[in-house]
C-alpha cells in the first residue's frame, strides 16, 4: 500500500481584488465576478518565488509526515515559473529540506499539471520499491499579461505531498493519465507571458481531458461518482470545475471543499494540488477523494485516494489551507501588484 504520508500548503499573504485590476484596464469587474466566479487572487511578494513557496510547503509536509528528511529519496517540483531556465528548483528545495545528497531530483513542466506529475513520479518510485519516501510539489507564481483575461486569475501558491508505504494518511487506490497534443495554451522560450487560444481552451482542452481522465480512472477503479466523497478539479476559474463536475456526474457539495479559485486565483501547478490539501484538511477517515488535474498542451492526471485514521493525528500540526486563505492578508493596489510582479521595471543601471 502506497499513499500520502504528509502534505503541506503555502499561500502568500498578499491579495489583489478583481475590481482593482478591472478598474485599471476599464474592464467590467462584474463579468469576472459573476461570469467566472473570481473575487480576488494571491500575489507573491517580490522575495517569493516557486522555490521559496515549495520549501515552505514541503517543510509543512515533512512535519505532518513526521519523518527524517534524509529518508526522502526523490524530490520533484512541477511549475511553469521555475526561477531558472537551467538549474533545477528541485536542488534548492532538496538542500533546504535536508534531503541531500542521497536524493534524485527533477524539475517538471506541463503547464498547470506539472505538480500532479511530480506527485505521480514520487509515488511511482515508492511503489517500485526504489525509495522509502518521495516528495512531489506543485508551485507557481503564475503570470498573466497586463490587461489580458488571465490577469484576473493568475496567482501564487504551493502544495507538497510526501508519498511512502508507512504512516499513510491517504492511500493511493488508483492513478490514470490522459494526454493528447492539444495547443490550447503555451509560452515560447524567451517570451515573458503565455498565450492561449481563447475559447479553444474550453471544450477541446480543459473539458475533454478532465472528462477523459475522470471517466478513465473511475472505470479503472470500478467506482462511480456516488462512491467518491470529494473531487478536486483543476481550477482556472470558478465556473469550469462546477461544469466539468456536472458532466462527470458529481454534485456541488463534493466539489466545494476543494474549490479555492474564487478567493485564491489559479495557482497553476498548485491549483488542484492546493484543492487537495484543502480537502485533506477537512476529510475524515474512510473518505474517498478524487483529484483530476489539467495541464494545457494537454493532459490530465487523476488520483484516487482513501483517507486513513492517521489524518486526525496530523491535520492540525501545521497551518491548514483555509488558515492561509482566510487568515492574515494584505490587499495591494494595481501599482504595487505590478511592481511586485515586475510588470513595471526600473531603468537599466
Amino acid at each position: 500500500m502506497v499513499g500520502i504520508v504528509g502534505y503541506g500548503a503555502y499561500i502568500p499573504c498578499y491579495r489583489i481584488r478583481v475590481e482593482e485590476i478591472a478598474g485599471v484596464w476599464g474592464a467590467d469587474a462584474e463579468s469576472y465576478k459573476k461570469g467566472l466566479l473570481l473575487e480576488e487572487k494571491s500575489v507573491p511578494a517580490p522575495d517569493q518565488d516557486t522555490i521559496t513557496m515549495a520549501v515552505e510547503a514541503s517543510r509543512r509536509a515533512i512535519k505532518r509526515a513526521g519523518i527524517n528528511p534524509q529518508e526522502i529519496g526523490a524530490v520533484y517540483v512541477g511549475s511553469e515559473s521555475h526561477p531558472y531556465a537551467v538549474k533545477p528548483s528541485g536542488t534548492v528545495l532538496a538542500e533546504a529540506i535536508g534531503a541531500c545528497p542521497d536524493v534524485h531530483t527533477a524539475d517538471l513542466e506541463f503547464a498547470c499539471k506539472a505538480g500532479t506529475e511530480g506527485m505521480y513520479l514520487a509515488l511511482s518510485q515508492v511503489k517500485a520499491g526504489d525509495i522509502k519516501y518521495g516528495l512531489g510539489v506543485g508551485a507557481d507564481t503564475s503570470q498573466g499579461a497586463p490587461g489580458d483575461a488571465l490577469e484576473y486569475s493568475t496567482a501564487a501558491g504551493a502544495a507538497a505531498f510526501i508519498f511512502g508505504r508507512e504512516k499513510i494518511i491517504a492511500e493511493v487506490l488508483e492513478t490514470y493519465s490522459f494526454t493528447t497534443d492539444t495547443p490550447d495554451f503555451w509560452r515560447r522560450e524567451y517570451q515573458y507571458y503565455p498565450r492561449h487560444g481563447g475559447r479553444f481552451t474550453g471544450d477541446p482542452a480543459y473539458f475533454k481531458h478532465i472528462v477523459g481522465a475522470g471517466k478513465g480512472i473511475m472505470a479503472k477503479a470500478k467506482v462511480k461518482p456516488e462512491d467518491i466523497t470529494y473531487v478536486i478539479f483543476h481550477q482556472p476559474n470558478g465556473k469550469f470545475p462546477l461544469r466539468v463536475g456536472e458532466l462527470l456526474g458529481f454534485k456541488k457539495k463534493q466539489i466545494e471543499p476543494g474549490l479555492l479559485v474564487n478567493r485564491l486565483g489559479n495557482t497553476y501547478s498548485g491549483s488542484s494540488p492546493l484543492g487537495l490539501t484543502a480537502t485533506l484538511d477537512i476529510a475524515k477517515p474512510g473518505d474517498v477523494v478524487l483529484i483530476v488535474s489539467f495541464g494545457s498542451g494537454a493532459g490530465s492526471d487523476a488520483f484516487l485516494f482513501r483517507v486513513t485514521e492517521r489524518i486526525d493525528e496530523v491535520r492540525d500540526l501545521v497551518p491548514k489551507t483555509g488558515d492561509m486563505l482566510n487568515g492574515r492578508r494584505f490587499y495591494v493596489n494595481y501599482g504595487t501588484y505590478a511592481k511586485f510582479r515586475k510588470k513595471i521595471r526600473k531603468a537599466e543601471k
Partner: protein, 130 residues
C-alpha cells in the same frame, strides 16, 4: 556581491540554520566556529536553531546598499530565537506600523536578492510574524 562559492559555502546556515553547540559550555554558535569564544573548547555538536522567537530591536532601511536598491524600504531586526540564539534578518509580511519589540516571529525561506537579470539567485532566512 557574493560569488557563487561564497554564497554556496554558507548554504547549511542560510537554508537549514545549522549551528554548533559547544560541548563544554553549551554556548550555541551561529554560524558554527572552530573554537568557542566563551570557553576556548574545540569540541562541538551539530544543532539546528529554533524556528520561532521574538524581535529584540528593529529598523526600517530606507537608504539601501546598491544590491538591495529595488527592495527598499524594508525592515531588518535582531531576533532572539526560543533557544536563546540572536540573529539578524529582515522582517517581512509585516506592515511597518505593526513592527514592535517583542513581536513573535518565525523563520521563513525567502529570496534574498538576484544578481541582475542573468546572475545567481540568493536564498536565505527571513522572519515573518508568527
Amino acid at each position: 556581491m557574493p560569488t557563487p562559492a561564497r554564497y554556496w559555502r554558507e548554504i547549511p546556515q542560510r537554508y537549514r540554520l545549522e549551528a554548533a553547540k559547544c560541548r563544554r559550555c553549551g554556548l550555541i554558535l551561529f554560524p558554527p566556529r572552530l573554537i568557542c569564544p566563551q570557553c576556548q573548547s574545540r569540541e562541538f555538536e551539530g544543532v539546528k536553531l529554533a524556528e520561532e522567537g521574538k524581535v529584540v530591536t528593529y529598523t526600517i532601511i530606507r537608504v539601501p546598499p546598491h544590491q538591495f536598491e529595488d527592495q527598499a524600504p524594508y525592515a531588518v531586526g535582531i531576533v532572539e530565537l526560543d533557544d536563546g540564539v540572536k540573529l539578524m534578518g529582515q522582517i517581512v509580511d509585516c506592515p511597518f506600523e505593526e513592527l514592535k519589540t517583542g513581536l513573535r516571529v518565525r523563520i521563513e525561506f525567502r529570496k534574498m536578492m538576484e544578481e541582475g537579470e542573468a546572475g545567481v539567485i540568493y536564498y536565505g532566512y527571513k522572519f515573518v510574524p508568527a
